[in-house]
Structures are given as C-alpha cells and as structure tokens.
C-alpha cells in the first residue's frame, strides 16, 4: 500500500513538490485505524506533530492528492468528505456503513466487474470508477439492535 517513495515520485513527476505536510497527510490516513479520514480528522491527527498543517493546507493537499490519483474522495452522506488511499489493483473498494454505530467496514472483493460490463453494453457508458456503499447494521450492532428496535 503505497511504497515508501511512490508519493514523492508521483508528485515530482507531475511537477509538484514533496513537502513534509504532504507526506504527513498521507501517513495520517495510512496510519489511522479507520482509513477513511475527513479533512478535520486529518488536521487533528497532525496537530501534535512537528509537521502540522493548516486547515487550508489540508484541504489543498487532499484535493491535489485526489487529482493525481493518490487518494480517493468518498462520501457517506455525512455532510463532509472523507479520503482513502488508493491501493494497487483498482476499484475493489466497497463500504459497509453501519447505520447504528457509524462504523465503516471495507469489502475487498471484486463484486462489480460483471456489472460494469453490462452498463457499458446497455448504456454505452464508459465506467472509470464506481462507488458502492451498503447501509445497514453491522455484525456487532445486530445483537444490540434486536432489543432496542
């Protein structure tokens, strides 16, 4: 998941500079348990560090890293964007969003290749990426929700 200098290499090859803030921001996402951080959370994660970044820098960096294909912007309908690191093989990133506890779990399977082909066929739509979220109740919340609901 994002080899040591892939970031620097990619930035440099596109005429951007590799700054301590940019490195720290990517690191913050990789090191987070959730792997899907909002700008606010990224900012918070760096606030102690020596290479802290201003909010404006966080936003500008997240935008840039999204544009050059390092990060992907995801939206779980919370009124704020989240970002995740793009890994090797493509778009096998689906999310299970728990409506009870808010936890987001990843599904690492290629569920959609067949559907993408179908969409290309039937609609003449050239799929470049997709976003699939399942909303429901996660395994941990299911026992609890039986009583409460």
């Amino acid at each position: 998941m994002l080899a040591g200098d892939t970031l620097k290499t990619k930035l440099r090859s596109l005429g951007h500079r590799c700054t301590s803030q940019r490195e720290a921001i990517v690191k913050a996402i990789i090191d987070s348990p959730e792997k899907h951080l909002s700008a606010e959370q990224v900012y918070g994660a760096l606030s102690g560090e020596e290479s802290g970044a201003a909010m404006a820098t966080v936003y500008r960096t997240l935008d840039l890293l999204e544009q050059i294909g390092i990060l992907r912007k995801v939206d779980f309908g919370e009124g704020r964007a989240r970002y995740e690191v793009i890994t090797e093989s493509g778009h096998q990133h689906h999310h299970l969003v728990c409506l009870e506890c808010g936890k987001v779990q990843e599904v690492r399977q290629d569920l959609l290749s067949a559907l993408e082909a179908l969409v290309a066929d039937e609609y003449g739509f050239e799929v470049k990426d997709h976003m699939l979220q399942f909303y429901g109740v996660c395994a941990e919340c299911k026992p609890k929700s039986r009583k409460s609901r």
Copy 2:
C-alpha cells in the same frame, strides 16, 4: 410513481400537515427532467410559483420527506445533497454519473441482490439499503472526449 394522494396520506398518518409547499416540492422533483434535485434547484423551481418556499422550508421539507420515506437523499460527491422520489419496488436505483457533463442517468435493474446476500453471509452485515454510482463518460460525451483528451 407516488399516487395522487400518497403524500397527503403519509403525512397525515404521521401527524404532519400537507401544505402547499410540501406538495410543490415533491412535484418539482417529479416534474424535473433530472429527477435528482439539490435544495437550491428545488428552491429555484418554485421561485416563480404561487406556492414558493423559503430556503429554510425547502431544507426542512426535504429532511422531513426523507425521514418519512418519500424521498431519498443521494450524494454524488458534489458538495451538496440531492433528493429523488422513492418509487415502488425498493432500492433498484443506481446512477451513472458522467464526469464530463455531470449528467446523472438512472439504471433500473436489480444488480445487487446477489451481492447483498453475499455481504450478509460473509460479513454478518444486515443490508438495509445501498448506493451504487458508476463514474465515467456517458454515451453522448464519449465521441467528444476522444479529441479533447
């Protein structure tokens, strides 16, 4: 798609009033060619009408209608929410979002039942709804994008 008095009936049965604004807001979405309107667009659609609504009312109404199951909030990562009318048979609503022209096309097929079963099985996740968007280039933009890109 939303029979004549379903709205009034549903509102009344839950102790809400059926106001001209609420009717107009649902009508605006149904009558729109896109079928996925943002709050701003709903507001704009009503601005000429006799039953125009203030922005605050639009937001409050969209929230309410979402909560009582008349509308569904969708998010295409544009930094603003959109709303669509929920129709009969459930969640067979997938979207093809064109990255060139921004147009959103609906796919009316049940593509995910199999996947939902798989997710329930493998992750113990009880799926209540899902959200699937394909991002790419639509049939109309494909010829154009060949030259420009």
